[in-house]
């Protein structure tokens, strides 16, 4: 996938392979966890975070993921099958970039929690046996790179 800055301060994703589509479609599944609770746990009971702020955060985080899912599905449905013929594109405006960034951050938070042990083991041994974990960590690298591009081009 290529990420190109646009004149209006946004970016354009250029999808080059089926693997790119798979990675983009995986964002909504990989970000399925609800993180609003995690933030409430950082606050004392007096703040009533669980009652007041948590539902707002839940809605906000959920809307980020839903937006990304919809954008990817729309672009996929409108794309042609043959990459030789035309490379599909997904335009992301400066305003939409934060929604993408937020959804990707949720995925990375989720992966960090889910695969913490495996990541530590990888640092120590340089090996991972489980194929599912390997694929997840590759996706995590994809998300990390994508997130860095969003920040570099749209959040200045």
């Amino acid at each position: 996938m290529i990420v190109l800055p646009t004149l209006n301060g946004g970016i354009k994703l250029v999808i080059e392979s089926e693997q790119d589509w798979d990675n983009l479609k995986s964002i909504s599944d990989d970000a399925a966890e609800d993180f609003s609770k995690r933030f409430s746990l950082l606050m004392d009971e007096d703040s009533m975070w669980g009652e007041i702020v948590e539902p707002e955060l839940k809605d906000q985080f959920s809307s980020q993921v839903k937006f990304v899912k919809k954008q990817v599905e729309l672009a996929f449905d409108n794309s042609v099958d043959d990459f030789e013929e035309e490379l599909p594109e997904i335009p992301i405006t400066k305003e939409e970039a934060e929604l993408w960034y937020g959804a990707l951050n949720q995925v990375r938070l989720s992966f960090e929690e889910k695969f913490r042990k495996e990541i530590e083991a990888l640092k120590e041994t340089g090996k991972i046996e489980d194929g599912e974990v390997v694929r997840a960590l590759f996706r995590n690298q994809f998300y990390f790179g994508f997130q860095s591009e969003i920040m570099a081009h749209t959040m200045g």
Binding site: F35, L42, M43, S47, L57, L109, E112, Q147, S148, M151
Partner: protein, 96 residues
């Protein structure tokens, strides 16, 4: 009839003291948020200079946490809400 004792009322100075109790907004380190992103969020929410935001971000990164603001509880909660909204791990601590 027995005399009823009036409920104890806080003096104005006591009330002011309660409101003015200093609280600290603390940002905690996490392995996910990008360093540049943390700096940019601190600039956006608190209006800090790039230098101050970078210094606070480095404290979060190297020391595990940084006090990014101190003041009244209500405003501190508003800031923490904004930090959580940006998916930064933040909490409130009473100033010792």
């Amino acid at each position: 009839m027995n005399a009823v004792e009036a409920p104890a009322r806080k003096s104005k100075s006591q009330t002011r003291e309660k409101i003015a109790e200093p609280w600290q907004v603390v940002v905690l380190d996490d392995p996910v948020n990008l360093m540049e992103y943390v700096s940019r969020i601190l600039i956006r929410i608190f209006g800090y200079s790039r230098e101050k935001a970078d210094a606070l971000m480095m404290d979060v990164h190297t020391k595990g946490k940084a006090i990014v603001w101190s003041g009244g509880r209500e405003r501190a909660e508003m800031y923490v809400n904004q930090l959580h909204s940006a998916q930064l791990h933040a909490t409130l601590e009473k100033t010792k």
